[in-house]
Symmetry: C2
Subunit: 148 residues, 2 copies
Amino acid sequence: MRRTSFSDMSCSIARTLEQVGDWWTLLLVREAFFGTRRFGEFQSHLGIAPNVLTQRLQDLVQHGILEVTAASENGRALDYRLTDKGRDLFPIIVALAQWGDRHAPAPGGPPVVIVDRDLQRPIAPLQVRADDGRVLQARDVAVKLTRG
Amino acid sequence: MRRTSFSDMSCSIARTLEQVGDWWTLLLVREAFFGTRRFGEFQSHLGIAPNVLTQRLQDLVQHGILEVTAASENGRALDYRLTDKGRDLFPIIVALAQWGDRHAPAPGGPPVVIVDRDLQRPIAPLQVRADDGRVLQARDVAVKLTRG
């Protein structure tokens, strides 16, 4: 990529990181994609301290990435679910997983793979594409000001 | 995604985050994609404290994401460049930027867009795809153990 404006370009990435640029936050989002809904499940799956979990869930709800609903009629149990905004994090989660599979693998290779539910075959590596579908490398793109 | 094994699945994402799951680290990688090479440039573009910058650059070199080369013959100036492993972070950077453009935009919309250098048109939104090219949503994938 060629430089146009650092302070401008930093916006979108920095703004994303302000909302999800925390280790625990992204692992919570990953759990939510796996179907985790309850406080206790998040806690046991991640081994996260309750006070940290409370804060991170609150942050995610405040950012509109998770929404809270009453899981039962008496309203005591709460469900945390991804909103549309949260579900749009899917490519980020996949990109992180695929890079880790390739460059920071567990000994013996990745223990699990993300598969297409229909074919049960591993999904394709994420690729950056042009508007017309051509696959692009970093050297093939530039950043462009949208307003003077 | 359906759950297969949390502790297993956590590997790849958690392992990625161990290497790049730090706000400054990803912004340094972004800068490197923009063509930033020198310590002083990273510092002035990001407004990062020198001691923090030194540590983060060291971490990135240690993880094999950046490599250091002598920029001049006397060897005093050092260049930090992305390795192949570092360049493979491109989809992560694009995914973060696109999510931010959509869900955490600057007032008035994104000030810059990533364009295809040939067409000068905005690149396509990143899409997760099956092996046969079908576009997949989170609900269309599952995680599968690769070994018993």
